[in-house]
Symmetry: C2
Subunit: 298 residues, 2 copies
């Protein structure tokens, strides 16, 4: 099982170097964020966008990594070219540059040459807690607003697939609620119970699901014991499945600003992982996200 | 402005010692949790419950603090006696012992001799972030499940009253969402906007409300700047108003298990603050909660 971003990096560097199609790459921060990942033989970039600007930025920034550059006229064309590179097998993953997310997603979801799999796209955050020497998966903190039961099932399945690629063969999934008991006034506890039973009956495979759990008894054995919860997941959850985007986002950002935690993030569920960092992410988060996507594209 | 639990303790010790009516006090942990608060002249306990058991526990635990003991036959009688002590002015605050929360709340909400104020009861968590040297107020992480706009307004008003009692005259309130823009697919952002406008128009007083904000741009100035948010609240929120119990609970427990944070909690909105610690709370949290309630009862 991969337990840290250092181990993830070593794992990603072992495989064949993955080609990353960067959409609208004419952006300083994006070009810089690739530097170490290219240097460490984790990715090989195809930079798609305003060719002149990309070249002049690379010169200005003294970027010396090798990169194929594909010139395009506009954002839509950049997105189409990038997605087609991936769907034709010439690249293995996508990265968002200076372009709005909907324009990329529209190309990803194109019915003819897109990367549709019939599955829901979801945001996966991976975070490392140094004290536990462990990678947690948190989903969905950024994309699906208030998924119904089927949406939660698909988000869960995407997260489990990511866990498998991180060499966690049977991840423990905690559907996170405010309490650990069933309360029909709280839909999150109802859906958590249903997902657990679907897992019992083989409708959700490759993992152990047990909820409702609250954050404390999901991640802390003492807290689980205090509540007298007997569960294969409680206290040792690997996947934190949140009921709404507000819950996921609050956990992510509380960790980011109050705890000592490292992150990576990706959009998952299409034919290839998508790196979608934001300007406010630290360099470390951007680097980790590229490494994560490379590992998921192996 | 009170900026730490140390300052809160000093403040609470200054006033007249508050009488705390402890409901179903026949419990080791509850009796122990009062020890330092009594010693520091912050509270003077009235222990209500099984008198024999209280006395034998105090002997067993070698508890030497002075306390009035009122013997009762059962939990309901304990709750009634305690609430009547408060409503008649003979005690200033309530504390939950070995009794279920609904039994206490039923007595609190009694129409004849209860502590009704016509306002919503809400859970208030106060947490201290050492790095910022600041007390944050988080609500509602434990009581109201999915409040509508009016519920959020009342939760907000309770939180603002608590902030005032912590000597923060014009607290900055951030209604927490997953994003900082208006999106009608996300009710939290709609309610956040409405609460802000209600504050602009004087329908909510004594504070500055500005949302929607996400956790990062609520508490971190850099994150707010990154997003180009110009707001009197962004980056410097004192009150984190969450849209659902799941969001509040997740923030609380993420802080508790991944960050270096100290807590206090209370139920607020009745005629007197209610200390409602749980068995899994640390001694520090229990002590802080008693101190907080004493300060709120001043």
């Amino acid at each position: 099982m991969i337990k840290s971003f250092k181990e993830l990096e070593e794992h990603a560097a072992q495989g064949e170097t993955r080609r990353i199609a960067v959409v609208a790459a004419h952006d300083k921060e994006v070009l810089l964020s690739l530097k170490d990942a290219v240097h460490n033989n984790i990715v090989s970039p195809v930079l798609i966008g305003n060719k002149k600007e990309i070249e002049s930025l690379m010169k200005e920034l003294d970027i010396r990594y090798e990169a194929e550059i594909i010139g395009t006229e506009n954002d839509q064309e950049s997105a189409e070219q990038a997605v087609q590179l991936v769907s034709s097998g010439k690249a293995h993953m996508l990265m968002k540059g200076l372009i709005s997310t909907p324009v990329i997603l529209k190309a990803v979801l194109n019915k003819e040459w897109g990367l549709r799999t019939g599955r829901l796209l979801s945001h996966i955050a991976v975070f490392m807690e140094r004290a536990h020497h462990k990678l947690y998966i948190l989903s969905d903190a950024a994309m699906n607003i208030a998924p119904d039961l089927d949406g939660k099932k698909q988000i869960l399945e995407n997260a489990v697939e990511v866990a498998h690629k991180l060499k966690n063969e049977k991840p423990r999934v905690a559907p996170i609620c405010a309490i650990e008991t069933v309360n029909t006034d709280m839909q999150a506890t109802v859906d958590a119970s249903l997902l657990s039973k679907m897992n019992d009956r083989g409708q959700i495979k490759g993992c152990v699901v047990d909820g409702p759990l609250a954050m404390d008894n999901a991640v802390n054995e003492e807290a689980a014991k205090h509540k007298g919860i007997s569960s294969p997941v409680a206290g040792n959850a690997d996947v934190l499945l949140v009921p709404t985007i507000e819950v996921g986002n609050a956990i992510y950002k509380t960790l980011a600003f109050f705890a000592d935690v490292e992150f990576a993030g990706t959009i998952y569920g299409a034919g290839a992982p998508i790196v979608l960092t934001s300007r406010s992410d630290s360099y470390q988060t951007k680097y980790n996200s590229i490494v994560l996507a490379a590992a998921l594209a192996m």
